[in-house]
Assembly symmetry: C2
Homo-oligomer: 337 residues x 2
Amino acid sequence: MNIYDISKQAGVSIATVSRVLNGSSSVKPKTRKKVLDVIEKCGYTPNAFARGLGLDSMNSIGILCADCSDIYLAKAVYYIEGNLREGGYNCILRCCGYDLPNKQRAVNLLLAQRVDALIMVGSSFIEANPEDNKYISDAAAQVPVLMLNADFDCPNVFCTMCDDFKATLEATLALLHSGIEDILYLYNSRSHSGLKKLSGYQAAFTSKDIPINKQLIQFYQGSREDIPGVCRFLNELKDQGITFHAVLASDDMLAAGAVKYAKSQGLTIPDELSVIGFNNSLLTECSEPAITSIDNHLETLCSQLVKICISTLNGEEMPQKTIFSGELIQKATTNLK
Amino acid sequence: MNIYDISKQAGVSIATVSRVLNGSSSVKPKTRKKVLDVIEKCGYTPNAFARGLGLDSMNSIGILCADCSDIYLAKAVYYIEGNLREGGYNCILRCCGYDLPNKQRAVNLLLAQRVDALIMVGSSFIEANPEDNKYISDAAAQVPVLMLNADFDCPNVFCTMCDDFKATLEATLALLHSGIEDILYLYNSRSHSGLKKLSGYQAAFTSKDIPINKQLIQFYQGSREDIPGVCRFLNELKDQGITFHAVLASDDMLAAGAVKYAKSQGLTIPDELSVIGFNNSLLTECSEPAITSIDNHLETLCSQLVKICISTLNGEEMPQKTIFSGELIQKATTNLK
DNA sequence: TTGTACGCGTTATCAT
DNA sequence: ATGATAACGCGTACAA
């Protein structure tokens, strides 16, 4: 069932059918109705491939994501997909892990699918070595690239992010002001955003003229879902004689591990150990006690990112960078002033 | 840059270029190399729309999911996407919530996109009223429909599921055998799978000739992410004089709420309250103590589902139903024998 | 082994 | 207001 069949049955030309379908130019109401009736009767749907070929677009956006089962990235994908859907776009999802070759392959495959734009969800797409980011600028030479939580300066690349530096700085200062100085910074990602958070932590100490104890900056390289593993890791630190009265984590999962650690050591929270997480996810409410966490307003970020995406595709000029602030949500693992 | 440009530069016809690209029939090695060199030099990629139009397929599968930010559904989408990707398919993701009109719309839009198959992730796609499932059989008339965790009998619909009935039955029996009879069954979904779990619970009592206390079957209709809400809900039940020494939940989030409830009442787990969840998600490890949970082997389910999907698309005959068993993973919220 | 020519189902540009 | 026809770029039957 194609446009020819419809045109025959309606006794008009395919041009008229096309006009009816696309609402373009003027069609006599009577003709329009005749055509619509036939379309309705036959349950006809235009062939999206043919349309795509002619218009060089199928209104689809490629969504790249390291791992859409990650509790935070999943939410981001959800919000982005929802906003794109409302804007009339389809989403081609592709999880590509954290390694460069896979990211490159994923980008190329989506471009080969002729997506209208590329959305990279999460800061893991920026490589430490600047040359390795060529795959992003190459992609941006073909279609707009939208990045969530990343900062990359390149034409046709649009970044929407939370000011992780400031948010972590403020959280650290809040702990310092409450009188805790031996704050363990626990992180599991050396991504751009990950390092921004770390510098926020460091900047807080510097601004207060307090020396930074490098032993209190710890990288956890286990699985992103292994809470008991984080607990073991902290116990090992303790065994090494490293002491701390607060844990500031780059992720709620790590914070949950810290809470487990306190439990294993018989430490009272927040009196003997304060804990702050990042992302304000469901884990903060699941943990006992509920974890104080930095909320980076993901829903707002995503909605803004999609707005920029669609506007850019419509030919409007859009800002290269859009930066929101984070917010410290106080729950039961801290006793801040 | 299209196939004509390449053919000119290589001094061959487009047919030869096409043959080189698709590895079909035989091309003289020398010619092949010549063509490949030009393709390489120009960075040529065949136009996917034109290819799609000719072959009536762009190798893309529609993934429908009520809410891909749900911790369990996100994992399912992740596994499915990964398996499809390895099979050379693209995934068009569409979240459609739990309401029928949105589900129907989502199905129609994906079919209009000419996807090769439709995967419905989660039992929420089956409606209680049989007539309302017409949208599924209608879809199956066009493309294969694969359902995860659902049971729907219809040609061209393939279901891959965990035996939720048996898993819940066994978990309930385990609690009964450990001497606990006042088991609260807490659920938040009346989907097909949700009701199967409930009957498993009931069947356990029936098999032991223990009367079922209807007050101990409770439906929670709050948000799927509101753990404190679940805690409040259980406190209200307690206030109404409903007593129980175990909670069997249809979801880990509900189980986490039960753990919070125990805490709020000062009840010792598992001595005064046993808790069993469902899905064995990250929440079970985040909670304190870690929650005993039913694991339904999601990764296996997804990999099997995709295998069936791809095989069906290749014209192989595949089983309509594939059923795996669940498994009770014992952690710290139960003291079973 | 290679080339020619047509079909796939649209949209858009001209005419009328 | 409507119709005829040329792209769009590929795969492939058929011819050579």
